[in-house]
Symmetry: C2
Subunit: 194 residues, 2 copies
DNA sequence: CTTATCCTTTTACAAATGTTAAATAATCAA
DNA sequence: TTGATTATTTAACATTTGTAAAAGGATAAG
């Protein structure tokens, strides 16, 4: 059983999206567990079905997958970010993606089956979750636009302005694949703007 | 008031996602209206807030926006596809995107405010809508992967295999911008695989 | 401290895509 | 049908990005 004060950041994150009752809080708290993962270790491996919704309590993580043998980073999760592998969670198929801690990281995990069961008795929790998905959807649409219609250099500049301390924390090779370019290309971009 | 038989295709589409009660059907039917738009006319202009969820009953449409004065196609909607401008609908901001009929097209429109009100009394409709958003989210994640990690030629081949009659129906310049490349580049790709 | 490993940059060259302009081809309206 | 407009292809050249290999830095383990 997780101490509720451990979940303050998470509950605060949720309440900002959609306020919900003390009973709903208790229901959610009852499903939460804490998972500590050391730097560079995987929380979830490629090929596992995703049956858990994760939240980064402390630390830093990424989602990545393999393309022609190379790791491709799809998403960075900072403190107080959710990690949801939607293509597995909502389809039931095994995920092609892994979740890796980029620093020693503490995750909060919620089993999706138990959460979805709560929806039947607590519409406010279903609503909360709907809004979370809406936000994630909008973020993905915007990211798609960025990838498709901004040059790599613009994308790097944009990323730097959004997350200025990214390059201190994350190896550039991960940032390159996140931007959809090679490490060499990112190096050139960095040299050109110096 | 729209005749319910006019909505058969739409209701069938919804029931496949999540079955729901006759009362829910009536609630939804009560919100629907039909809108006919002639070929090359816009259903929604750039800059309007998106307060409506659309469905293509007959015809063909696209979502596009302007990037450096050029039209960029973000999405094609065929018969029995939804059209949702998520970045406006879920944020309340004016949309940077327009909806245009590529043929004479009949849309079904549902005002989002009224739909969201239904959620308070009919959880099954909120659940239906949640699942719709989940599906759209997954589709967008998969499309993002395709854009980021397949070469333009692969993307064109993939699009052709998914929608073989696309090139008969849609000007290649729209397809080019949908693929994230120039018209010239698409022409070269087409020439190279002939 | 030293070695081994991993990360990042640089170089040289190849391939893909963009830009501009011109030439065809197709479509639409008078 | 004709002329005007729009769509598509082609050409020539510029730019961007990829690939492969080497070199220099940084980091971690012994």
């Amino acid at each position: 059983m997780v101490n509720k004060t451990e979940l303050d950041g998470f509950l605060n994150f949720l309440q900002k999206i959609q306020s919900f009752s003390p009973e709903a809080v208790d229901s959610i708290v009852g499903l939460c567990s804490l998972i500590s993962i050391r730097k560079n270790q995987n929380l979830q491996e490629i090929g596992q079905k995703c049956r858990t919704i994760y939240f980064v309590k402390e630390g830093l993580a990424r989602i990545f997958y393999l393309k022609d043998g190379n790791e491709v980073t799809e998403y960075f999760a900072f403190e107080n970010d959710l990690i949801i592998r939607a293509e597995s969670l909502f389809t039931g198929k095994p995920s092609k993606k892994a979740i890796q801690a980029l620093e020693n990281t503490v995750f909060i995990g919620i089993p999706s089956d138990a959460l979805f069961e709560l929806f039947d008795t607590k519409p406010e929790i279903e609503r909360l979750f709907r809004k979370i998905i809406e936000q994630a959807y909008v973020a993905t649409v915007l990211r798609m636009e960025a990838i498709q219609f901004h040059a790599a250099e613009e994308r790097y500049a944009l990323l730097l302005s959004e997350k200025p301390n990214l390059i201190q924390q994350i190896p550039l090779k991960h940032i390159a694949s996140y931007l959809g370019i090679t490490q060499v290309s990112l190096s050139r971009i960095r040299a050109s703007i110096r």
